[in-house]
């Protein structure tokens, strides 16, 4: 704080502090506390608010555990978010390795710019673009038919397929950058040493590069997984008749049933259960929280 005052003067420092405080407190902390408090109260007509029925209970949370359909939607959301994470890793790892160890330094700014440009377009537009690309009579099927790779058009948006494609496209860069940073920090001599000792390329990756990149893989995976599980836009736009995402249930509670109390409880359940899932996976892969924070 003293450094800030010395550098920017008292006025600017106060402005920074007040703005940051406003953002954290009013826009993040207070709404969450409000929802958290509501999640323990029953959904009542306005007349009965603060009345004798308005008591704290775990009923809203138990609603979830009493509903097999909601539990199954949650499980599928976790399974497919994990699948999206794995696909993102499979796409991002070779690219991150190429960018950090193989490609010419001079090319990097251009490649990064090309990777970033899609991010400048709104997520809604990008999802709609995929909706068009993946449509039954869309350009993807047309090209594949034209090239003779498929004989009949593929119904891309069926089951969770459209959602997975959309989520991978939207979040793959969140995997790429942590991986790029991790692999870039590996001393190239270690890769050469492994090769010099006789290792074929895949063993060098398995024994030297992947273990070194583990913190990057972990932080990229946590980000992609949490963002996917919490995504509402892509699962709504690229949904098929039988692809239900857990966030859609939260949305239904809040906007269709107008029951914000149960909706809040579901939102916190998503957060808590996903955190538990991530912690368990981190345990299994022996990743420490401090690795991710790096």
């Amino acid at each position: 704080m003293k450094d800030l005052v010395n550098r920017y003067g008292l006025l600017l420092t106060t402005v920074f502090a007040v703005l940051t405080g406003f953002w954290v407190l009013v826009l993040v902390v207070l709404p969450n506390i409000y929802l958290f408090e509501h999640s323990f109260r029953p959904y009542l007509p306005v007349a009965e608010l603060r009345g004798p029925k308005d008591v704290y209970s775990l009923d809203n949370y138990l609603t979830f555990f009493r509903s097999p359909i909601h539990i199954s939607v949650f499980v599928w959301t976790v399974v497919y978010s994990a699948l999206v994470t794995v696909i993102c890793f499979l796409i991002a790892y070779p690219l991150a390795y190429y960018l950090s160890k193989v490609s010419a330094r001079a090319l990097l700014p251009t490649i990064f710019l090309l990777l970033f440009i899609p991010l400048w377009v709104s997520e809604v537009l990008r999802s709609f673009a995929w909706f068009i690309i993946l449509a039954l009579k869309g350009p993807l099927n047309a090209s594949l038919l034209g090239l003779g790779i498929i004989e009949d058009p593929v119904r891309w948006i069926s089951g969770f397929r459209g959602v997975i494609i959309g989520l991978v496209y939207t979040y793959v860069l969140f995997m790429l950058f942590p991986l790029y940073n991790a692999i870039q920090s590996l001393d190239t001599n270690q890769i050469e040493a492994a090769e010099d000792l006789g290792a074929p390329w895949w063993r060098t990756h398995w024994r030297v590069i992947l273990p070194h990149a583990k913190p990057g893989i972990a932080s990229g995976s946590v980000m992609v997984f949490m963002l996917s599980a919490g995504s509402i836009l892509v699962p709504t736009l690229l949904a098929s008749t039988n692809s239900r995402w857990f966030t859609e249930i939260i949305q239904q509670w809040m906007f269709e049933s107008q029951d914000w109390n149960t909706g809040s409880a579901y939102a916190f359940l998503l957060l808590i259960l996903c955190t538990v899932f991530v912690s368990v996976v981190m345990r299994v892969f022996r990743v420490k929280l401090s690795d991710i924070a790096k």
């Binding site: 001393d187 001599n189 040493a193 492994a194 090769e195 006789g198 290792a199 074929p200 070194h212």
Partner: protein, 365 residues
């Protein structure tokens, strides 16, 4: 098992820059060979070409008589010890050493046993399960050597592996490396900018400058009979005089300089009329109270530095040239005081007239 390495007019070009320029040398099986030169002279490039990381742009590299063209580093019978060692920090010591065996499909028990054996060889028992971060600089060095020896290379390539160690440890590791090389009989090719290291360890030394091999000879020959001005000035200290050759008689010649006319040995292929310099090692300078009949320079002592085993005497002659002499700290030699006037004399057989550029003095750092 060890193999010789033949470099047959090898060149390496980076764009228009020729880093290695027609280097030709035959390194014998079981030899400890050093490439010595200032940074940027191309010695590391030579090492990377032998290990297979860079292809030579011209010439042929043969290991054990076999042309290495097109062979990847993991297909060559060489093992490289990197300047920063490049140990794998996430593996314990024994897995580091056994990595080459793991790659070759040796089973875990045998790998472990071999790693322990090699740890004995490099005098580091009980370190098998330690993490790399727990080791000291010298211990890491030994692990790197053991890791390279584990793949039973025919040629071991070392890229200034001692440069990160402090002086005492460096001197100890020199002897150690030499002993390991003798014990295993593997051909060692050693890269260094440290002349002390090269002279103390090697069977033969190749001195390099600007991509060219200047001289290949055993350490004594390099020091006592340098082939040209670069070798003379890069290896060891010198008093250097510029001047003209005035006339030769046998292997000696008269050499006229601003400090006087001296008699000295003619270097290889040096003849009258060539641009040449006279090189005189400080330890060959005698201090005399009176002028000698020949090869005598009147000087004024400017500085006396006590170095322990010897005393270094800086002096200036009438023309202002700074000269250097060394006196042994044996108690028998009189040590002059700054300001004293005396004569530097030397034997013509101990001074040599050579051509060629001299090494920039900051280059050996």
């Amino acid at each position: 098992m060890s193999a010789g390495v033949d470099l047959d007019n090898v060149c390496a070009d980076f764009g228009t820059f020729r880093a290695v320029d027609h280097v030709a040398v035959n390194i014998r099986p079981g030899e400890f060979f050093s490439f010595l030169g200032p940074s940027g002279c191309g010695k590391t490039t030579i090492l990377r070409m032998i290990s297979g990381f860079i292809p030579p742009s011209r010439g042929v590299i043969r290991i054990g008589g076999r042309d290495m063209k097109g062979q990847r580093p993991n297909q060559r019978p060489t093992a490289l010890i990197f300047q920063n060692l490049a140990l794998f920090p996430l593996m314990p010591v024994w897995e580091n050493i056994a990595f080459g065996l793991e790659v070759r499909g040796v089973d875990r028990h045998k790998r472990r046993a071999r790693a322990e054996e090699l740890l004995q060889l490099v005098d580091l028992p009980d370190a098998a399960d330690k993490a790399i971060a727990q080791l000291s600089g010298g211990q890491k060095q030994r692990v790197a050597i053991a890791r390279a020896l584990a793949v039973e290379p025919q040629v071991m390539l070392l890229d200034e592996p001692l440069s990160a160690l402090d002086l005492k440890l460096r001197q100890h590791m020199r002897a150690e490396l030499r002993a390991i090389q003798k014990r295993t009989g593997v051909t060692f090719i050693y890269i260094t900018h440290d002349q002390g290291e090269a002279l103390a360890m090697s069977d033969r030394v190749g001195v390099m400058s600007q991509g060219k091999l200047q001289q290949v000879a055993d350490p004594r020959e390099i020091y006592n009979n340098p082939a040209n001005g670069f070798v003379a000035s890069f290896v060891g200290e010198n008093n250097i005089f510029t001047g003209d050759i005035q006339g030769a008689e046998g292997d000696l010649a008269r050499f006229a300089t601003a400090s006087g006319t001296f008699t000295a040995r003619l270097g290889p292929a040096v003849t009258q009329g060539m641009k040449a310099r006279l090189f005189l090692r400080p330890e060959h300078v005698r201090l005399a109270p009176a002028a000698a009949s020949a090869n005598s320079i009147p000087v004024e002592v400017t500085d006396v530095a006590f170095e322990g085993n010897f005393i270094s005497i800086h002096a200036r002659d009438a023309g202002g040239q700074v000269l250097l002499a060394e006196a042994r700290n044996d108690g028998a030699t009189a040590v002059p005081a700054p300001g004293e006037r005396l004569h530097f004399t030397f034997d013509g057989q101990n001074a040599v007239i050579l051509t060629g550029d001299t090494a920039a003095r900051d280059a050996d750092e």
